[in-house]
């Protein structure tokens, strides 16, 4: 009896610890805020519903990207298949690890579009409550699928921002445990239970008149760019080039991209030897306004986001741009892409005010 007392039942103890940590991870995932819920749907579709070679173009970036491009419209316009992975305040650190993860998983795009709006934002500090980018940093952990990518991503944040985010980001139970009373369907089924015909885009039907960006082609002007974003943009470009993927850096229409910002981004792109398409330059802006009827009076819902009408127009423009500048296949008529036509029809029915004249 005395001997029994002193013996530690290691197997029981280890089993208990294993069960505890298993439950802890499950509870953490359940309670963590699903800020990127919609984006998880896209990930789910991408990984589970589509063929690995389904998307020739990956659209990465911030909210400007998901407000500017609808893959369904691009497909309808040019037959090019794409998926919009953009999310609010998506950082280049996340983009790098997400692309690395997807490439490692065997997905192979032909072109990756990188929205560079984050480059201008200097005040990114993870770990700060109320910080503009805090949700984005956290969403990164949520949207990366493998634990290896999650850990690498958080380590990269720690390196970049000299902070300690490991426990806080990977096991954010302390932060989110009190969400138990507000759990919803999205928490139990974060991957969604419906197919999103927008394929990662957001079509907002609000309208706000804004002034167009003013660029005069003055090459002498420069501005400071976020060094972390620039570093990871260059790393991402390297990674994609090593994998034989073309890269296109873009700046979507807004009211603030001036010569200084344009020149600074252009400089980075020139250094990295990749194309930079700025939809605010006078030449491109003219095409958008004249050929695609993009209007700064009716096609935005705030000073830097296109609304549903603007999205439809820019998507069509961008589809044509990809068609003309990259050798991408037209998948229209292929049996595995037929569902995209159905998607487009559903999309048009969902937004009759946008698509009725098309």
């Amino acid at each position: 009896m005395e001997n029994n007392k002193k013996q530690i039942p290691w197997i029981r103890l280890l089993s208990f610890v294993f069960i505890f940590f298993f439950l802890l991870i499950q509870v953490t995932q359940l309670l963590t805020s699903k800020d990127g819920e919609q984006k998880q749907e896209i990930d789910y579709l991408f990984y589970n519903e589509f063929d690995k070679s389904f998307a020739d173009v990956w659209l990465m970036g911030s909210s400007q990207t998901y407000c500017a491009l609808t893959p369904t419209v691009i497909y309808h316009e040019s037959g090019i298949s794409s998926v919009n992975f953009s999310a609010s305040n998506q950082t280049m650190v996340y983009v790098y690890y997400k692309i690395q993860e997807m490439l490692n998983d065997g997905f192979q795009p032909k072109v990756v579009v990188l929205d560079c709006v984050g480059l201008r934002t200097l005040s990114q500090e993870p770990g700060e409550d109320g910080s503009h980018f805090e949700n984005s940093f956290r969403r990164g952990v949520l949207l990366l699928n493998s634990w290896r990518s999650k850990i690498e991503y958080v380590c990269a944040l720690e390196d970049e921002y000299n902070g300690s985010y490991f426990g806080n980001y990977l096991f954010p139970l302390e932060r989110f445990h009190s969400r138990w009373s507000e759990l919803g369907k999205g928490d139990y089924y974060p991957k969604g239970d419906k197919i999103s015909v927008e394929m990662g885009a957001l079509l907002d039907t609000r309208i706000k008149e804004i002034s167009a960006s003013k660029q005069n082609g003055d090459l002498s002007l420069k501005c400071e760019l976020n060094p972390h974003e620039v570093k990871y943009l260059l790393k991402t470009i390297d990674l994609l080039k090593q994998n034989g993927v073309d890269v296109l850096v873009v700046k979507w229409p807004d009211s603030y991209t001036d010569d200084a910002l344009h020149n600074s981004i252009q400089e980075v792109c020139t250094q990295a030897e990749v194309d930079f398409l700025d939809l605010n330059t006078p030449n491109v802006s003219k095409i958008l306004q004249n050929q695609y009827t993009l209007s700064y009076k009716t096609d935005f819902y705030n000073y830097d986001h296109l609304n549903a009408w603007g999205n439809e127009k820019v998507s069509r423009f961008f589809g044509k741009y990809l068609e003309q500048n990259y050798s991408l296949p037209d998948h229209r008529g292929e049996s595995s892409y037929v569902f995209m036509d159905t998607y487009y029809k559903t999309l048009a029915q969902s937004y009759p005010e946008v698509f009725e004249s098309k």
Partner: protein
């Protein structure tokens, strides 16, 4: 380092590991190192000077007391030591109160002698270990104890880390054996200790800290609330205080149990008490028994009190001769208890003198109540009568709690007035939970938590040891209970960003 923090449990886990792999005869020394580390981590290394002062005084005075043959000299050493310890405690914890007192008197007597507010940071646990040290010295003086010859062992008795935050107030004779002997690892004992810690955390983090939201919502804005708002919140505070303090004790005793060191229990279902005297035998038991053994009995047995008693007996009869000195003695005791809880009038009144008043009144009127019971032929042993007495005791306690919740004594008076003045029972409704700072989910959690505490208390009162019972069940059941408890704390506990981790209420005393 708060004892609900992850860092504390990391520290405990590491200390446990080192404790059980260390040589048996060196284990107590490891506990000493851990205790000093905990002390420094909790209040900084500068505070060590106060701790070392207490340890040094305790060690050398005890040896001197034991060595000295002359009873008068023994008494002098004891007296000086106690005065020095109390001066240290008063200087660190009550200076602010004494300056307030001095300013009030200078106002009253129109003396131009104002003192600014003085706030000195007191080291953690000083109120608790000071009483333990006084008790130890007194026991040595009485010849009930042999003084500890090893100053490091003495240091461990004073600084033993689990008891540093909120007690219990330990006696040397109660823990010296298990503290120094180097306890063997006992899996079942550690498991039981772990269960106790989880139960304590549940009481503290799920129930007490949720009730704290209710209490602070109303008592931080008493000007806006009256009537049933204050009444209900005061009852909520009564449960908060119990869940908080007993939860803390479960963590403390559980941690100590994991090391094999047995600490005295501090609670025995206090809200089941049928009188205030009984309440103080069930609530903060170690303080009650300390005060009884080191203040009340010595006072009543002193020559002066004995002669007063004799004179009173002669002049006014047996009853007065017996009761009046006790009432006077109790006045000192309750003033001490009140002051010990905090250097402010609200504590002196609400944790001290109000209890003295109720208990003394009970003593004086006991004969009258007996006659009333006889007259109405009340069965004082039936359930309903006992329940009535329990509810009466609880509500009597709540009167004092109004003052403890309030910012000051005067504020307590105002709150009591506002509670009586306004009749608004309709504010106690599910639709009005928002006014109490909680929502329906919090309410359900509080209710379930309190019912669980009630159930456990009833079973304990019936003599059942819940943990022992759980540990006698099959492993799956044990794990379900344990994991259920852990995840209840993790999910439903009140902690995290936006919440200022509240310390244990008794940690502030």
């Amino acid at each position: 380092m708060t004892i609900t923090s992850l860092s504390f449990f990391g520290f405990v886990a590491l200390t446990l590991l080192l404790y059980y792999i260390a040589l048996k005869q060196k284990r107590w020394f490891l506990l000493l190192v851990a205790s000093i580390f905990f002390f420094v981590a909790s209040c900084g290394w500068k505070m060590l000077i106060y701790l070392f002062f207490g340890i040094g005084l305790c060690f050398f005075s005890a040896k001197q007391i034991a060595k000295t043959e002359d009873p008068k000299k023994k008494k002098q050493i004891l007296f000086v030591s106690i005065v020095l310890l109390l001066l240290e405690l008063a200087g660190l914890k009550y200076l602010s109160f004494f300056t307030t007192l001095s300013n009030i008197f200078s106002d009253l007597f129109n003396v131009q002698w104002y003192m600014g507010e003085i706030n000195i940071l007191a080291p953690i646990g000083i109120s608790y270990y000071t009483l333990s040290v006084i008790g130890y010295l007194t026991d040595v003086y009485r010849g009930e104890l042999k003084p500890q010859e090893n100053c490091f062992k003495m240091a461990l008795f004073v600084s033993y880390f689990p008891q540093m935050v909120s007690g219990p107030i330990v006696r040397y004779s109660e823990m010296n054996k298990t503290l120094y002997q180097g306890n063997e690892f006992d899996y079942n004992n550690v498991k039981s200790a772990f269960m106790r810690i989880v139960w304590g955390l549940f009481k503290k983090m799920v129930i007490a800290d949720r009730l704290a939201i209710v209490v602070s919502s109303v008592f931080s804005n008493t000007g806006q609330f009256g009537g049933f708002y204050i009444a209900v919140t005061t009852i909520a505070f009564a449960f908060q205080l119990y869940a908080d303090f007993s939860g803390c004790m479960d963590v403390v005793l559980g941690v100590s149990q994991a090391f094999g060191v047995k600490l005295p229990e501090n609670f025995r279902q206090p809200y089941f008490s049928e009188s205030l005297s009984e309440f103080w035998r069930r609530w903060h038991i170690t303080l009650g028994s300390w005060v009884k053994d080191y203040i009340l009995y010595p006072l009543l047995k002193s020559n002066r009190f004995q002669s007063i008693s004799k004179k009173l007996k002669k002049k006014y009869g047996k009853k007065v001769g017996r009761n009046l000195p006790t009432i006077i003695g109790l006045f000192f005791v309750w003033s001490f208890i009140g002051l010990w809880h905090g250097g402010s009038f609200k504590f002196i009144f609400a944790s001290g003198l109000i209890h003295w008043f109720w208990i003394s009144s009970g003593m004086v009127l006991s004969g009258f109540f007996e006659k009333v019971n006889e007259f109405f032929k009340f069965d004082t042993e039936c359930f309903s009568f006992k329940l009535f007495r329990k509810v009466r005791t609880f509500l009597t306690l709540c009167i004092g709690f109004i003052f403890i919740c309030s910012q000051s004594f005067v504020d307590g008076l105002r709150s009591t007035y506002r509670m009586i003045k306004t009749f608004n029972p309709w504010v106690v409704s599910l639709g009005n939970l928002g006014s109490f700072g909680i929502n329906i989910y919090d309410f359900v959690l509080i209710l379930v938590g309190l019912l669980l505490i009630l159930l456990v208390s009833i079973k304990k009162e019936q003599g059942m040891e819940i943990r022992k019972w759980v540990l006698s069940q099959n492993i799956p059941f044990q794990w379900i209970v344990l994991l259920g408890g852990i995840f209840a704390v993790i999910i439903f506990g009140v902690y995290g960003p936006g919440y200022d981790a509240s310390t244990f209420i008794y940690g502030g005393f």
